[in-house]
């Protein structure tokens, strides 16, 4: 990973006070922390994918195929816990956000570099606790990642350890958000106003607020599970006067905004990619910035749409259903603005844009199916069915994860100073895209037909859908392997990439690839807006 253009050490080589592995695990360099997070979350993604593949294998036929019911319950619980808390929630902010937010702001680092490192250490601690819960005592939790009472109160599996892990992971997420909010307020280069930061920054800002304000509710909720199990307090136990529905309120007060922690940064990545590959200024900068804040706020008002069938009041059902439609509005603003940016642009169809386009398509399906579940009447029919499973995989996997893959392909040359094979990347993308729809579209159909979620057995009429879906999972696996192998080859043997292979206009493209430890060799000059491509091919700061 030698920087080919100047003699300044890249952040990969510039070790600082420690040497070897300690120069990584005790680093305070936001880029190294970003890499630590990147490799951590991708490893956990791989684990989550393997569990997912095993689940799909079990479901290829009715009855017990490869595991029994108890193991299957543990599978879907652990799949959810790993994918949500150990992969998707940290994914973009902690890896790509850490790597590029300070550079995009013209800063040397985040506001609190040591707290940034603490964030990663808390992540690892949470990870270890989750792993312990899998392999000790009575085994992995079987409650679903939602840990609903009353079952989570009396199941003998390792819920205590697992929720402690979740608590610590929540704290890790909070610190990242806190760091980014402060960074955006305080660490910008002096000439850069808030209305001139890249929209990726705005998405991380909005996400940071959700992380700070919503995650503590998760903290208290899992703490209460722990306290219920160990002390028998009874706050959710009807025998002691408690209300189990209140658990659901507390849980979803966090977990609904959490999905916006997941998707808003990915939208930020898409907003970075589209103008670059349309060679055109983003359409509606202010609208997109405001829509990020709008999604964060509106998303905090709708949590009980997960509870339409829980027994809560009809009044609440109607109000939360109504409010849920409102969240669609700022999301739609983004989609319109992306399409408007592409319209009459000079489209350059490179892998990052392919992933961004896939995001728009897949997230739109996810969002539209969201209207079906968000509408109380139709939700009665599809709640806790495979329709919901299809919906959230379209939004989270088709949305956030495809967005992250787009970000990886976009920023890869900057991180590693090399370029991957674009043809293979495109092929992998195609396989992934097709496989994704083969895997998840049948779930929407199965759900409407009545196939319940979290069931390891089912009636024969559902088998065709399950078989197709399982085959889809294999296609996705092939696509993922090809995609990651191609990126790996790019790291090892890729052609050297210059400063700015995409001719983008945000500040990270003015520095060498990979960046040096302090991000810039020369103090960056703010000579153009983040999406201003006029004359960039001749701009020496960017070439």
């Amino acid at each position: 990973m030698n920087s080919s253009e100047s003699k300044t050490l890249s952040f990969w080589e510039d070790d600082g006070r420690f040497s070897g592995i300690f120069s990584w695990i005790f680093t305070t360099d936001h880029k190294r922390i970003g890499i630590l997070y990147l490799y951590s979350v991708l490893s956990l993604f791989a684990v989550g994918v393997v569990i997912g593949l095993l689940m799909r294998l079990e479901l290829i036929a009715p009855g017990s195929t490869i595991v029994g019911a108890q193991t299957y319950n543990a599978f879907f619980t652990v799949h959810g816990v790993i994918m949500i808390f150990l992969f998707v929630i940290p994914s973009i902010p902690a890896s790509l956000g850490n790597l590029f937010l300070p550079i995009q702001l013209g800063a040397e680092d985040v506001a609190f570099p040591r707290i940034n490192l603490l964030s990663w250490w808390l992540y690892i601690t949470g990870l270890i606790l989750i792993l312990i819960s899998l392999f000790t005592g009575q085994g992995a939790p079987d409650t679903g990642w939602t840990f609903y009472v009353p079952f989570s109160e009396y199941t003998t599996t390792n819920v205590n350890v697992a929720v402690l892990g979740v608590f610590i992971l929540g704290f890790s997420s909070i610190l990242t958000g806190l760091n980014f909010i402060t960074t955006i307020h305080r660490m910008r280069m002096p000439e850069m106003k808030l209305t001139q930061i890249p929209l990726f920054g705005w998405s991380l800002y909005a996400t940071g607020w959700i992380q700070v304000l919503a995650t503590p509710i998760l903290g208290i909720t899992v703490l209460l599970i722990f306290v219920e199990r160990t002390l028998g307090i009874g706050l959710f136990d009807p025998a002691k006067g408690g209300d189990p529905v209140l658990y659901q309120h507390l849980f979803w007060i966090y977990s609904h905004p959490a999905v916006y922690i997941m998707v808003v940064p990915a939208m930020g990545v898409v907003t970075e990619i589209i103008p670059v590959f349309a060679r055109k200024h983003i359409f509606g900068y202010k609208a997109i910035a405001l829509s990020s804040l709008g999604i964060a706020f509106a998303g905090s008002l709708v949590w009980a749409h997960h509870m339409f069938t829980s027994g809560m009041s009809d009044t609440a059902v109607m109000i939360f259903s109504f409010l849920t439609f409102i969240v669609a509005i700022p999301s739609a603003v983004k989609i319109f603005n992306w399409v408007a940016t592409l319209y009459k642009g000079s489209i350059v169809l490179e892998p990052p844009l392919l992933y961004a386009l896939a995001f728009i398509f897949l997230f739109s399906i996810g969002g539209l199916t969201g209207l079906v579940v968000g509408s109380a009447g139709t939700d009665i029919h599809v709640h806790d069915t495979y329709f919901v499973v299809g919906h959230f995989h379209y939004t989270i996997f088709g949305g956030t994860v495809f967005g992250m893959f787009g970000g990886l392909h976009y920023w890869f040359p900057k991180i590693y100073g090399k370029m991957y094979n674009k043809k293979v990347a495109t092929t992998a993308w195609g396989i992934l895209f097709i496989g994704f729809n083969v895997l998840y579209f049948p779930m929407l159909v199965l759900g409407i037909m009545g196939m319940p979620r979290r069931y390891f057995d089912y009636l024969p009429e559902y088998q065709l859908g399950h078989v197709i879906s399982t085959v889809g999972s294999w296609i996705v696996a092939v696509g993922l392997i090809l995609m990651f192998y191609n990126l790996y080859r790019g790291i090892k043997k890729g052609e050297p990439a210059g400063k700015n292979p995409w001719n983008a206009a945000t500040l990270e493209w003015t520095t060498q690839s990979p960046p040096p430890k302090l991000n810039f060799i020369k103090e960056p000059q703010l000579t153009r807006g983040p999406y201003d491509y006029k004359g960039i091919e001749d701009d020496t700061q960017y070439q």
């Binding site: 506001a111 958000g177 806190l178 402060t182 700070v212 304000l213 009874g234 706050l235 209140l246 302090l518």
Partner: protein, 200 residues
């Protein structure tokens, strides 16, 4: 590329306030539960609340308010360059915190001695609203007490830093941020006190 090594005073304060927001929301979840159960069990909450000692509660409130006062004073003192006064005031704050915790220990001790504790046979014979009241009482005052304890240690650390001149009248954000934390702990108690001791 020049290196800006001076600390960002405003940034440090923003960071601390953001952390305080997480504490507000952490306790906030418990206030969600309290408000729902107060709505559901008004009579039982009133009856159970009467079993708490209003004198202890009021005394503890005054103790904590005074400790907030001494904490705020300590910052003013340091800003004015009076290191010794600052240290005295920080010490007073810690002592008052210990008084609060001691009172809590006495209160909890009395309740437990009478068989009122989570999942106790005595408690389970009571009406459901009272079981919930005491459940909330232990969880909320317990979590609060934990924060008082942690706060005391943080104040101790900051006291040592002031003594060693690592925190000074020109770089005092550590004391100010400690104060912010302490005042938040005080503020939570300001709400807990009437909700548990003065339920009408």
């Amino acid at each position: 590329m020049t290196h800006n090594t001076s600390k960002d005073y405003i940034g440090a304060k923003i960071g601390m306030w953001l952390f305080l927001f997480t504490e507000i929301l952490l306790f906030g979840g418990l206030f969600v539960l309290y408000s729902v159960y107060l709505h559901r069990y008004p009579e039982e909450f009133h009856l159970a609340g009467q079993e708490l000692n209003v004198y202890f509660g009021t005394a503890n409130t005054l103790v904590l308010l005074t400790s907030s006062f001494s904490m705020a004073l300590s910052i003013t003192a340091l800003q004015k360059g009076n290191k010794k006064l600052c240290m005295i005031l920080l010490t007073i704050t810690m002592i008052l915190a210990c008084v609060f915790l001691f009172n809590k220990y006495l209160e909890w001790g009395a309740k437990i001695h009478h068989g009122i504790y989570p999942d106790s046979p005595t408690l389970l014979e009571r009406p459901k609203g009272e079981i919930i009241f005491f459940g909330l009482y232990y969880v909320m005052t317990g979590l609060h007490g934990l924060h008082v304890l942690i706060g005391s240690f943080i104040i101790l650390i900051v006291l040592i830093l002031v003594a060693k001149n690592r925190v000074t009248s020109s770089d005092f954000v550590a004391v100010e941020n400690t104060g912010l934390y302490w005042h938040l702990v005080d503020m939570i108690w300001i709400y807990l006190f009437p909700l548990f001791y003065l339920v009408v």
